[in-house]
Symmetry: C2
Subunit: 335 residues, 2 copies
């Protein structure tokens, strides 16, 4: 976000008395003329007595600030086969991001992230309490959020992010900050490590009022947004490589046939999770509690995550699933 934009947002937050900042008034007019009346930017420039380039900039501002919302709605009766199949087989609303074989894995992540961010926008409401996990997928999403004005919304961190190494994850807080900025929401960080060394420490901490406040927010979540980690083939995801777990922990995971995690809470292929001891030291949300949340959005990019995803779906963790087409195919056809 440019410093200019930030400044604008701040000014708006300070409930000052000037009725409408002239800049965004013009942006609104321009947007109406461009998107609703089909004028060219040149024509708009003449009417606003400014240059075409300024109009171009007004319009991109209008898009970025969520003044203009572009939605794609495919009437359910003609929803693409893949999305229908996923809904039928797994009971979640699927949003498949079109992608062909020409596209590299990192491009896929980018595209899924952009589309996820755009899909999220319309679902966010005022008075929402939005739980957000951290990880490479959600980080990518956070870079592409479009702004939307809401009142009294809160972003709450789903699981701690501290670890023993220096593997600088300042970015958990960065991710949260971006969500907060996009939706004009309060941000509540969760200042604990991802895993405690001792389950007793967790018990103790969970009794602290400062922590209870966060846990209470989590219980009242109206929406949760998370990726999945997967122990499957290929690159292990952040949690498995970033110094959060030691050799012994990883051995435990293998012995327990863990296939993946959501917000550092682990589960098996069949979705079971209650008897995995590592979860007692994890700061992620109890999955039973997570299942109570009205809207639970899972973002997945890349086939390496399929195993983890299968487990997450078996556990019923998501109500909505945003994933790339390649993964979607694999998910449906090899099941």
């Amino acid at each position: 976000m440019s410093p200019a934009a930030q400044n604008g947002a701040n000014r708006a937050n300070v409930r000052n008395s000037d009725p409408t900042p002239p800049r965004s008034r013009d942006a609104l007019r321009a947007a109406q003329m461009y998107y609703l009346q089909d004028l060219t930017m040149n024509a708009i420039a003449r009417e606003l007595r400014t240059s075409r380039s300024t109009v171009s900039r007004l319009l991109s501002m209008a898009r970025e600030t969520g003044l203009v919302q572009i939605q794609i709605n495919n009437p359910l009766d003609r929803a693409p086969a893949l999305e229908r199949e996923i809904r039928n087989n797994f009971g979640v609303d699927a949003h498949v991001v079109p992608v062909t074989d020409l596209v590299s894995d990192s491009d896929v992540l980018d595209r899924v992230a952009i589309q996820a961010a755009r899909t999220l926008g319309p679902l966010v409401d005022s008075n929402a309490i939005i739980g957000v996990a951290w990880g490479s997928t959600i980080s990518a999403v956070s870079h592409h959020l479009t702004r939307k004005v809401t009142h009294d919304s809160t972003i709450v961190q789903l699981n701690g992010a501290g670890n023993t190494q220096t593997t600088g994850i300042t970015y958990a807080s960065e991710i949260l900050r971006r969500f907060g900025a996009a939706y004009g929401a309060r941000v509540e960080q969760f200042p604990v490590p991802a895993f405690f060394d001792h389950a007793e420490t967790k018990t103790a901490m969970w009794a602290e009022r400062s922590v209870k406040r966060i846990l209470d927010l989590q219980e009242r979540m109206t929406m949760a947004i998370f990726g999945v980690g997967s122990t499957g083939s290929g690159i292990p995801s952040h949690v498995y490589a970033g110094g959060y777990l030691d050799e012994e922990d990883l051995a435990i995971l293998r012995r327990n046939q863990v296939v993946g995690d959501v917000a550092t809470v682990f589960f098996r292929a069949d979705g079971s999770h209650s008897d995995i001891v590592l979860n007692e030291r994890s700061t992620g949300p109890d999955l039973g509690m997570l299942q109570q949340v009205r809207r639970r959005i899972c973002v997945v990019s890349g086939e390496s995550k399929i195993n983890g995803l299968r487990g997450a779906l078996a556990a019923g963790l998501a109500t909505d699933l945003i994933l790339d087409e390649r993964s979607a195919r694999t998910l449906v056809h090899n099941s």
Copy 2:
């Protein structure tokens, strides 16, 4: 609408079994990639293995068929002053179409019509019964409707359109047809003249079952769309010039201080209408009944209609008002 598009629509109506026509499947993919992933048309063409120009055409198809919906939402707290004032003074939701002094009157009509058509789209739902008036304003609107898939919707004509002269108004049915095509709705015409010569004929006709069917539909309307006629300064609108009324009728209107009409039902500046005898010969809907409709959308373009509009607002005929900025200013400032 092009013959091609029509053909497509017909094929869709015939509930055939092929799951998804390949053309619109591509359109959906293209739209997602363009609007949700910010790819260029060139990139999309490569992925779809076609030419860029085809992608351009797919995208315009996606827009026209309502696959892509572009909305402009100005958060209420920063709604432009004009719209707020109108809401406060007249109790209707105003949608002001930005227009500057550089623009000619006929251009204004066009722009209001386009924006009205776009604004309408999101409000139309399945199972709707939509009453539609006829007149130059609504005719203009009907040319710009974007398609939207709905089920079991009905378009019903609000008032008769026949007259004694040859002033070829085939266009009442044309207007209706376009609404029907845009929303995939049944069309119910109202095959009566605009005015009967004798009130008794109306009474007789209103007892006919064929007419009753239409009246019944009108009573169950969920939405009504109409312009206003105005006797005020400048050009008299269609009804006053088109051979619907003779000299004597016009004299009656003047004597009764009629300021305008909605769907050929007349009212005075204060909104009163029940004792205007001409209304007993009009085929337009009883205004009391109209007021029961949940959503009543009034489209107005041009300052010459202000007098009529004032009366219509006083009568509480509209819940939503779409009008050009110049008229909006006049409406607010000279009241």
